[in-house]
Symmetry: C2
Subunit: 151 residues, 2 copies
């Protein structure tokens, strides 16, 4: 049950990056909001609550660093909005989970099942493509919104 923070510090050191207060603040906000899918502005605002002097540029630079290091995922929602989420399972290199995106209320539900192994195998073989990761989004209606429209 390792703290991600240690992992974070280790990874930074490993690559010669410095461990700064701001970087810790940004990661903390993302960790404290697991499952929430914050965008850069939301992260910036939350970090600013604790550290009002931080600049948006630092947040962008940190997000891009965290993404590059694989500590967070950039989730691109096709509606022009970019959100970030924690990678919960850094060590095992699992595939990221899927997202169910409600076309009505825009709620994002995460789905832990992977279920894509067979498909990957088929596609790998047929197209000679070595698959490292995938991104799967299902668009539709959640139960709440579906009810609104009756049948």
């Amino acid at each position: 049950m390792k703290e991600n923070a240690n992992n974070f510090n280790d990874k930074l050191k490993e690559k010669g990056y410095k461990i700064t207060f701001q970087r810790k603040q940004v990661l903390d906000v993302i960790k404290d909001n697991e499952g929430k899918h914050l965008n850069s502005e939301e992260i910036y605002n939350l970090v600013k609550e604790k550290s009002p002097d931080i600049g948006i540029a630092t947040v962008y630079r940190t997000l891009s660093l965290l993404d590059k290091m694989g500590l967070i995922y950039k989730v691109d929602l096709d509606e022009g909005s970019v959100k970030y989420e924690l990678d919960r399972d850094l060590d095992s290199h699992r595939h990221r989970h899927h997202h169910l995106i409600c076309l009505d209320c825009n709620e994002i539900v995460e789905v832990e099942e992977d279920l894509l192994d067979d498909i990957e195998e088929k596609i790998s073989a047929k197209h000679n493509f070595f698959i490292k990761d995938h991104s799967v989004k299902f668009y539709g209606y959640c139960i709440k919104c579906r009810d609104k429209y009756g049948d």
Copy 2:
């Protein structure tokens, strides 16, 4: 073997939109470059070759209209780039195909197989989510780039 163009004109009329030269030009460029995944700037430049007076705003307005009408898909590639592609199968309302994205050369290969029906069924049932469409991207290395790295 209906021409998409007719479909296009019909759809426009249906919704009360006007059939303009510029709209035809934009659709033509996208049709002439099927499989190429052009971004807005590329489309703008190609249209400008034939019609130098067109404005970028018109291209954006047309792309957004075509997307809204379902004639093209907006493909968001997670690298901050937005590309557009033709919907080849307007009538049957099939799911869009998948994309294989090479992490090295950025080539995008399209995969026609769908193969997601089982998964959709499982997820629908388990999460009470009515799935209308999906977006699937596989990230990895194409055979050419894989060879570069040996084993």
